[in-house]
Amino acid sequence: MAQRASDAPVISATGLHRSFGDIKAVRGIDIEVAAGECFGFLGPNGAGKSTTIKMLCTLLRPTAGSAQVAGHDVVTERDEVRRHIGLVFQETTLDDYLTARQNLLFHADIYGLARSAATPRIAALLEMVGLADRRDHQVLTFSGGMKRRLEIARGLLHSPRVLFLDEPTIGLDPESRAGLWRYVDALREQEHITVFLTTHYMDEAERCDRIAIVNKGVIGALDSPAALKASVGHDRVTVHSEDDTALAGQVRERYGVEVIDEAESFVVLTPDGERFVPKLFEFGVPVLSVKVSRPSLDDVFLKFAGSRMAEADEGPAASKRLRVMAMMGGQRR
């Protein structure tokens, strides 16, 4: 493989915009992702994540701005970009009625891979994702985790330089998720690929080299997980009292600290949480519980996106699939 100058970014976007009618889904996104990096793209539902990914994957034209992926323009050199990217979407895009191998062979054909090279690579990939013994089984007999592994194998079949993973583990149990990441890491190491990931799981975000937090179509924060946590800089004091609204208001007023209201509590952000706790009892409102915690990525997310990571998604995809399956009565035409 021809090696490009190593410091040239594999993904770069400048002033990326996309509107749907009056709705401005993406309002000026700038990103640079270096070769071999694992880049996390986080944000609540409707923040513009999927729209941005679709533009980077050539599935959607930007309204304004431009982007290059693997050295090619996503609008003018669409096919060239497609040759160098692998995609795993939230929704599965496998043919359930074909076997695992037939799905991969379809991919090899439609990407125009030489059969002599594709056949051993298919065998090796199936081996790596632990599906070699199931290769001739129809995909509809697979569990959710197995399907995802097959999709990752397929996404990497044509030796892409960038792998886009759009919530790759949504709906999987913790064990399958952990397994999936083991496979992805092993594959990444062998092929030196760049990963562009969206997720709502904090532990997955922690794996990234850098993270961008998107909200309302713009990037609110972009840095390494450690730097982002440091930038929040404050401990979290989570307080539950007899009257959260009143207490939160008084604390905010007297100490000028940042206070975030939550459903059954409120959170005070302060540099030294333990020392702040006694102050909560000065107001005469009975305090029921107090918890002090160091900043996590979730807090970073809360600060820049205004909600918690886990709250942000249940995925319309899951419910749509269920509806389709129910409509077909489990059978497909």
Partner: protein
């Protein structure tokens, strides 16, 4: 986990050969799907068989058989094949909506190939599946007194493919922009029934029809597919099937439309429909 050595591969640089390969793998998948879906395979024969043997023999008994043994079931044999492949072809084409709903369409759309190749692959897929079904029906010819002449069979095979191709293109046009199968199904039902009834598959299109019906039949491209198949079939019947009094072919103001013109009408309809489908599909690419 075992350590397996991965060898990088290179994606084809594009070009005509790659596009052809892409279209052919889309085509192959449709055939594979049809073959694994035995239920659909069997149920696709139900309607033509009912037409041929229940309606054909039942109504035929009432109408009585003409001289030379050309009875009603023989008369509707070509039309039954044409409408049989019509239903199979349209439902094959509609599978593109399932592909969209269940995600597989995206796997095709993100590949470095033109959407036109995908459409062409889909069109040939539907056409092949329907032709296969039509060929099996063709094998029943003897049961309705149609002789197994090799030229007749060859001619019919060609016409079945041509018809299936045009109808699959029609089905793709209905389905290509649809997001859900619910929006497509009613649309399909609404269009298929008139296409079948107004094709002259079940009755002669000649003199005694009311004027509005004569016009409707002549506007329907399916009529030309039926007419061509009937011309070929009747050519090989004793006395060219004239004895039955059914044998009046399609006419334009009294001028009998020759089979070659039938073929041109069907082919042109197919190409126009396919072009519009491709245009719709690539418009927002």
């Amino acid at each position: 986990m075992s350590t397996v050595e991965l060898v990088p591969v290179t994606v084809a640089p594009g070009g005509f050969a790659h596009e052809v390969r892409a279209a052919s793998v889309v085509w192959k998948r449709d055939l594979l799907r049809f073959w694994t879906d035995r239920g659909r395979l069997i149920s696709s024969f139900m309607q033509p068989l009912l037409f041929l043997f229940v309606l054909g023999k039942g109504l035929g008994a009432a109408l009585g058989s003409g001289r030379g043994g050309t009875d009603y079931s023989t008369f509707i044999f070509p039309g039954t094949l044409a409408t049989g492949v019509m239903f199979t072809a349209v439902f094959s084409a509609i599978s593109v909506v399932w592909d969209r709903e269940l995600g597989f369409l995206r796997e095709m759309l993100v590949a470095p190939v033109s959407r036109v190749s995908i459409i062409i692959g889909k069109c040939f897929g539907g056409a092949s599946v329907a032709t296969l079904q039509g060929t099996v029906l063709l094998a029943l010819a003897g049961l309705v007194h149609v002789p197994y002449d090799p030229l007749l069979l060859l001619g019919m095979f060609g016409l079945l493919f041509l018809t299936s191709f045009a109808i699959t293109a029609f089905g793709l046009l209905i389905a290509i922009r649809a997001e859900t199968i619910q929006t497509v199904m009613p649309r399909t039902q609404l269009l298929l029934a008139p296409l079948m009834f107004l094709s002259g598959a079940l009755f002669p299109t000649g003199g005694s029809l009311p004027m509005w019906l004569r016009i409707a039949v002549r506007v329907n491209p399916m009529s030309y597919a039926v007419d061509a198949m009937r011309s070929v079939t009747f050519h090989y019947l004793p006395d060219h099937g004239r004895g039955a009094g059914f044998a009046t072919g399609l006419t334009w103001w009294g001028w009998p439309v020759p089979p070659w013109l039938d073929v041109i009408v069907v082919f042109t309809s197919g190409v126009v429909l396919l072009s519009v489908t491709c245009w719709l599909f690539t418009r927002d690419e």
